[in-house]
């Protein structure tokens, strides 16, 4: 496949994806096709499977059925084109590394085994730190950062990945208003460069303002489309209205029966 073809391919295609996590089904028959150059918000109540969706796309959780293609390829072939911002709480911030060390980790995927970060990698990491206004903190141990600063470091690490498709798990969780505004500005810049971003977001009130497209999720895909079309009372009612509680109850019952058998 030529390079031009692969660039024309859709960043993300999900077909009939079902995921069970700890024997508990969390996502059912998800079908999504995300076009390039969009800033997409993944929105839904707690336990809707938002994090699970992106973790499954990134191959961190095996799906029960269905398939996922990234730029027309399975994830492990497209790994260098995918950037990731995990939830901030997922790491130990007392770990003995400084800010620069963490951002350089964004380059590791491109370096491959046995190669050390080069001067160029350092230059890229420095530029990414500057972009999130964290350059003065480059040599600070990560424990001595505020929550908003930690989130910026994670964002800088993802920027250093220089990917075409980004997944971000709650990048606005626990950050101050200034950081939130700075982050959304950077995300829009990436979008304008033709990158595709999928961002898990908790706050409905800002979702409409921030994102081009919304993916409303509550175990099922409730709606996916341009924000203007999808952000309406009916869809939100479906997403947050709790009409899927029966589905959830029956599913866990089924899971218990299977595991007891």
């Amino acid at each position: 496949m030529s390079k031009i073809d692969s660039e024309r391919l859709l960043p993300l295609e999900i077909h009939d994806l079902t995921v069970a996590y700890h024997k508990q089904p969390v996502l059912y028959g998800i079908d999504v096709t995300v076009p390039a150059g969009k800033l997409v918000g993944i929105v839904g109540p707690n336990g809707a499977g938002k994090s699970t969706l992106i973790k499954t796309i990134m191959g961190l959780i095996p799906p029960s059925s269905g398939w996922i293609k990234i730029f027309g390829e399975p994830f492990n072939k497209a790994v260098k084109r995918v950037g990731y911002v995990p939830q901030r709480e997922s790491v130990d911030w007392d770990f003995p590394v400084n800010v620069m060390d963490v951002v350089l980790m964004g380059r590791y995927g491109r370096l491959g085994l046995l190669r050390r970060p080069s001067k160029q990698d350092r230059a890229i990491a420095t530029a990414c730190l500057d972009k999130v206004k964290m350059l003065p903190y480059a040599h600070r141990q990560i424990a001595n950062l505020s929550g908003g600063q930690q989130q910026r470091v994670f964002l800088a690490r993802a920027l250093a990945q220089e990917s075409d498709l980004y997944f971000m798990d709650e990048p606005f969780a626990g950050v101050d208003a200034a950081t939130e505004a700075a982050i959304i500005e950077i995300l829009r810049e990436l979008r304008d460069k033709g990158k595709t971003l999928l961002v898990v977001h908790h706050d409905l009130s800002t979702a409409q303002k921030y994102f081009d497209m919304l993916l409303l999720l509550n175990m099922r895909l409730v709606a996916f489309g341009d924000t203007a079309e999808v952000y309406n009372y009916e869809s939100l009612q479906k997403t947050y209205g709790g009409r899927l509680t029966i589905l959830s109850e029956v599913a866990s019952q089924a899971a218990r029966n299977v595991s007891d058998a």
């Binding site: 260098k80 990731y84 770990f95 590394v97 060390d101 590791y108 990945q161």
Partner: protein
């Protein structure tokens, strides 16, 4: 297996008695094992000389073995410590126990290779069982580790007792796997240690960035295509190797301490992973060396406990004196901060006394200050001598009008004047900020400002001044010193210009 220690102790004076006391405290009896060279009853100072001359090949092997072991365990243990897997090392060490016994029973001899293979397999089986229990039940990792640790160890002890009852040769010396005997290390043992250590260090250096990212953020590591499980199990295999080759020197009861303690000490001393690895290797080697040395002083003393005691002493030193996290430096910093705050409060009081006289005089009397501070003259004297030592005030300033000729007067130096102005300014700015911007009641702001005045930096002060539009008075109507006041200090005798006055004009 258990022999009294007193016979040995009697011959070696008090030093050896102390060491034996350590062993008794640890609940360990020296075990009969191979001896360093042809051991004869000598004075302990001769033993010291013999050890540090390294003439004796047995000493050389013991030292090389314990050094290698310290390096290997220090480096690998660092990864356990930063990943909060400390108990994994302990479990691994105890899980090898049945493997040693089975390795011995394989052809009823102390064949190093059979014991190495048996111990490694048992150790790996232990980690697999832990993983399996965790993955298939809702039991958490600590329970799984605890069970595997004691379960495997118990099986090993049963097998060991069985071997003790067997009518076979060669079985003596098997017990040194429990507490370790560096003196019993032979050339082949040291070679095996060297290979394992070099191999482990090579793997860590080659794949340092993968181990680093997998340890810091395993989810991200997998998301960028680093085969996380492969590196996780590689680490487990390396750790098992390290434990197994260390057994003869340390014994399986205490080997986990050498994985954890030097690495934990290094963690207190640095906040970069590669520095931590180097430091832990160094501290591990140091503990190994001391352990070998101390155990050499007596006849057949076990090495393991001495190595662990050495490692623990190093940890205690790190805990007390580590520059940033150590107890003593923190205490010292706290003490200095308290002294600084007290000095600044005295400066502020001098300023306030002068302010009450509209800065008409350049010096004040000690008694006035004492009454302002509401303390005794003696207490003020000690505060003042601190200020004099900081060069913030001078005593007995010469007054042209001769009003304060006694030596009980105080005057600011330029730096003291500046600091006093800063503190007063910080205090009043903060009060004003709390009243205007944070909508505090005027009578609530003083106590907070008493604390904040000592910690406001110049940047924050600039921000406050901008935010409050360069105010002249605080909420109580007193003048706030300006930057200009700070720097235009007029020395005593030239009049009050340059100092803020309550009736407005300042230069």
């Amino acid at each position: 297996m258990h022999r009294p220690t007193t016979k040995i102790a009697a011959a070696h004076g008090q030093w050896i008695q102390w060491i034996c006391l350590f062993i008794l405290l640890a609940g360990v009896s020296p075990v009969e094992g191979a001896r360093v060279g042809d051991y004869v009853e000598t004075h302990w100072s001769d033993q010291v000389a013999r050890f540090w001359s390294f003439d004796d090949p047995a000493v050389r092997f013991a030292v090389m073995g314990t050094l290698l072991m310290g390096v290997c365990c220090g480096v690998l243990g660092s990864f356990l410590v930063v990943r909060k897997f400390a108990l994994v090392g302990d479990t691994l060490a105890h899980a090898v126990c049945p493997g040693i016994a089975l390795g011995f029973l394989w052809n009823v001899s102390k064949d190093p290779l059979a014991i190495f293979i048996g111990a490694t397999l048992a150790g790996l089986l232990g980690t697999v069982v832990v993983h399996w229990i965790k993955a298939t039940t809702h039991l958490k990792e600590d329970s799984a580790l605890g069970m595997v640790l004691s379960g495997f160890y118990a099986i090993g002890i049963c097998l060991f007792s069985m071997i003790q009852n067997l009518e076979v040769a060669n079985k003596s010396g098997l017990d040194k796997f429990m507490f370790g005997q560096a003196a019993a290390l032979a050339e082949n043992d040291v070679k095996l240690m060297a290979y394992i250590t070099l191999f482990s260090l090579g793997v860590i250096i080659l794949f340092y960035k993968e181990f680093l990212v997998a340890s810091f953020d395993s989810v991200f590591a997998r998301a960028i295509g680093v085969p996380y499980l492969f590196f996780h199990y590689t680490m487990m295999v390396l750790l098992t190797f390290a434990v197994v080759v260390s057994l003869q020197a340390t014994g399986l009861v205490l080997v986990s301490a050498l994985l954890i303690t030097p690495a934990a000490t290094a963690y207190l001393l640095t906040d970069r992973m590669h520095h931590m690895l180097i430091l832990a290797a160094f501290l591990g080697a140091l503990s190994g060396l001391f352990g070998a040395f101390l155990s050499f002083l007596g006849n057949g003393l076990p090495t393991g406990p001495f190595m662990v005691v050495s490692a623990s002493v190093l940890f205690a030193l790190g805990f007390l004196f580590a520059p940033r996290h150590g107890w003593v430096p923190r205490w010292w910093r706290r003490r200095r901060r308290t002294a600084r705050i007290q000095a600044e409060n005295t400066l502020k009081a001098i300023y306030q006394v002068m302010e009450r006289r509209d800065f008409s005089e350049d010096a004040i009397r000690v008694a006035e200050l004492a009454s302002r501070r509401n303390v005794s003259v003696a207490a003020i004297e000690s505060e003042l001598s601190a200020l004099v030592s900081y060069n913030f005030v001078t005593r007995s300033a010469a007054q042209p009008d001769g009003q304060f000729v006694d030596d009980k007067t105080i005057a600011f130096t330029p730096s003291g004047w500046q600091r006093a102005c800063e503190i007063v300014r910080n205090h009043r700015l903060w009060e004003l900020y709390l009243t205007n911007a944070a909508l505090y009641a005027v009578d609530h702001v003083h106590d907070d400002a008493e604390k904040i005045e000592h910690i406001l930096g110049e940047d924050t002060v600039r921000k406050l001044e901008r935010c409050l539009e360069h105010p002249e008075n605080d909420p109580h109507g007193k003048r706030i010193p300006t930057t200009q006041n700070l720097h235009s200090y007029a020395p005593p005798g030239t009049g009050p210009e340059g100092r803020p006055t309550s009736h407005g004009g300042h230069t």
